[in-house]
């Protein structure tokens, strides 16, 4: 009796989540996948015939390839910047005393409570031709610099939005490190920098790598920031899909792009995850 219950209970407990996941993720994904093989005709819309033409178009047209390449490039750049800013930030945070630690942690996590759209608008006001940044540049005699609607604007805003996803995992792995381990390295003759590089950094690589995974995935599929800060001409994968659906009305092509982006993202993240896990097994056991 009780063993039978033990057999079904996990399934029952998992059922609501599984149903939700199936209804909201799997079904639309399958529909999108099927749609991406349908023929599209400007005159009559989506037809009931199947074709591989959309995939062929995407993979041969330099317009699409450029956007894919930009997406990967900006996501990788954002990830690298987040790592170089976020890791020291997390280290300083972990060495802070109360109450400053809590205050700064709140300052880092706080922005997550504000909608990405609002934050993107904030950046567009700051970076625009008459924004605060250009006012300062003019005051310094540097003239007006075009930042808004460039890749720079997208990366600045992406880094700002993604930073918490880097700081938090790194901070968590620093919490597990005995501060005396770093002191031990000093007493053995290591300078502060050497101790950080040889002793602290290897301990936080797992946090750094898993943070990178999240930041890369979220950046590569970001929509609001490239849409608002990249303008009409500077597209990334997510804004491209939106365009195909809403402006060109070529749903099958949009679906094919979405599937390709998903596959590329998945391949990169799985490969990365392999590296992360191998590394974690080596250092932490």
């Amino acid at each position: 009796m009780s063993s039978a219950r033990a057999g079904t209970t996990p399934w029952l407990l998992a059922a609501p989540g599984a149903l939700l996941f199936t209804a909201l993720v799997l079904v639309p994904l399958v529909l999108t996948f099927v749609l991406s093989f349908h023929v599209y005709d400007t005159a009559s819309g989506v037809k009931d015939e199947t074709t591989l033409a959309h995939y062929a178009t995407i993979l041969t047209d330099s317009y699409f390839l450029n956007i894919f390449w930009r997406t990967l490039r900006l996501a990788a750049l954002t990830t690298m910047l987040c790592a170089t800013i976020g890791a020291p930030e997390a280290y300083i945070l972990s060495r802070m005393g109360e109450p400053w630690r809590s205050i700064f942690l709140l300052a880092i996590i706080g922005p997550l409570l504000v909608s990405v759209v609002v934050r993107a608008f904030g950046w567009s006001m700051l970076l625009g031709p008459t924004g605060l940044v250009n006012e300062v540049f003019r005051a310094l005699g540097l003239g007006t610099v075009k930042i808004l609607y460039t890749e720079t604007a997208i990366v600045i805003a992406l880094v700002h939005v993604m930073l918490p996803f880097m700081v938090i995992p790194v901070w968590t792995s620093l919490q597990k490190l005995d501060p005396m381990v770093e002191a031990a390295a000093w007493t053995l003759g290591a300078s502060r920098f050497t101790a950080l590089r040889r002793v602290v950094l290897p301990q936080v690589t797992t946090g750094l790598l898993s943070g990178s995974l999240v930041v890369f995935g979220l950046s590569a599929s970001a929509f609001a920031i490239p849409a608002l800060l990249g303008g009409r001409r500077l597209k990334m994968a997510a804004t491209l899909v939106y365009d195909e659906y809403m402006h060109e009305l070529n749903w099958p092509l949009g679906a094919a792009i979405a599937i390709l982006v998903l596959v590329i993202n998945l391949v990169i993240m799985l490969a990365y995850q392999r590296v992360v896990e191998a590394r974690a097994r080596r250092t932490l056991g």
Binding site: D178, M180, A183, A185, W186, T187, L188, G189, Q203, G285
Partner: protein
């Protein structure tokens, strides 16, 4: 002037002083213990020597060189932390090798010295393990090897044995002392365990509330504790209050013989005697009579609590192989007047 000297060393955190005016000279090759209850400032003192805590006042000199404000990586001291603080992502050999790498010792020499250090602590077979694959005692020995391999002028140990179980701790006490004798490194060990301090050190420094209370060889510390606090912190001590009369202390209607130089007739005084200096006799055969309230078997000894008219008295007898007096039995307590000392209440006990 010692090899390592502390001169008026003080550390204040805000208003409170963690360490006040600690002065100490350590001779080359000496094994010194800092002994005191938790929170008395032992770790703070050790970390000031190591350079991990900046002193508020005072001076530290090592072999004539003032190192008070030198960075920890320039001091070259060997330190074993209470948590061992091994590098978790490095193997045992890599851990031990780290200090040599920092000193830019060539590869071949590094390997031989790591091997020697691991042989010294009997861990040669485990060189390729990671710290997480070791037991507590093995980790402790890796920490010792890591600290010793750099040939430090001074070895600092912060409660190195407190994380080990009782049996292993006893073994490691002998082993650590043996290693120190063989290598001859000047050593300062922090401990709150009085038996550890007594059994391992050349001299024991007793600290209380950030101050040094007494510095003495273990035997002298035990026999002539400078304060009542030390007398009860280091070993057990019976303290019986009474009034000083010629030749002894009057307490519970008896004159208890003891040594009491410098006391005035009729002054309030306290008799102090160690439990192992008291013998049990038949009732009426000793200095005072009493009744055994409790009896504990400790393996090598028996410990009795005896209720007398002068107060509760602890008595320790070596285990001679036969069962001694039982609980509830009436006994007499005997001691020689030389083994008991009288002092003023809360005053200095040593003659």
């Amino acid at each position: 002037m010692g090899f390592l000297t502390l001169d008026g060393l003080t550390k204040r955190y805000g208003e409170a002083a963690a360490v006040s005016d600690v002065s100490l000279g350590v001779a080359k090759g000496e094994f010194i213990s800092l002994l005191g209850p938790s929170g008395c400032g032992k770790t703070t003192t050790l970390q000031m020597i190591a350079g991990l805590v900046e002193p508020s006042a005072g001076r530290i000199t090592l072999d004539g060189r003032d190192i008070t404000h030198e960075k920890p990586d320039r001091r070259g001291l060997g330190i074993v932390f209470q948590s061992y603080a091994l590098f978790p992502h490095m193997t045992v050999a890599q851990n031990v090798s780290f200090g040599l790498e920092m000193r830019k010792v060539p590869r071949a020499e590094r390997d031989t010295r790591v091997k020697q250090a691991l042989a010294l602590v009997q861990l040669a077979a485990l060189a390729d393990r990671y710290p997480r694959q070791l037991s507590g005692g093995q980790r402790q020995r890796v920490a010792v090897a890591r600290a010793l391999v750099i040939d430090p002028p001074v070895l600092l140990l912060d409660e190195p044995l407190s994380n080990l179980d009782a049996k292993l701790r006893e073994e490691m006490q002998f082993e650590l002392r043996g290693i120190q004798r063989r290598v001859g490194t000047t050593t300062i060990m922090v401990t709150h365990d009085q038996s550890e301090a007594l059994s391992m050190s050349d001299r024991v420094v007793v600290m209380e509330q950030g101050r040094i209370m007494q510095v003495d060889a273990p035997y002298r510390l035990y026999e002539s504790p400078a304060t009542p606090f030390i007398s009860t912190f280091v070993g057990k001590m019976n303290r019986l209050p009474g009034v000083w009369r010629q030749g002894g202390i009057e307490a519970g209607g008896r004159l208890l013989p003891c040594d009491g130089a410098g006391l005035a007739e009729g002054a309030a005084a306290v008799l102090a005697i160690r439990p192992e200096k008291i013998g049990l006799t038949a009732p009426g055969g000793g200095v005072i009579d009493g009744c055994i309230k409790a009896r504990f078997f400790l393996g090598s000894a028996w410990f009795f609590t005896v209720e007398t008219s002068a107060g509760l008295v602890g008595v320790s007898l070596p285990n001679a192989g036969a069962e001694p007096a039982c609980e509830g039995e009436a006994v007499g307590l005997a001691w020689s007047s030389a083994s008991a000392k009288a002092g003023r209440p809360e005053g200095v006990l040593s003659a």
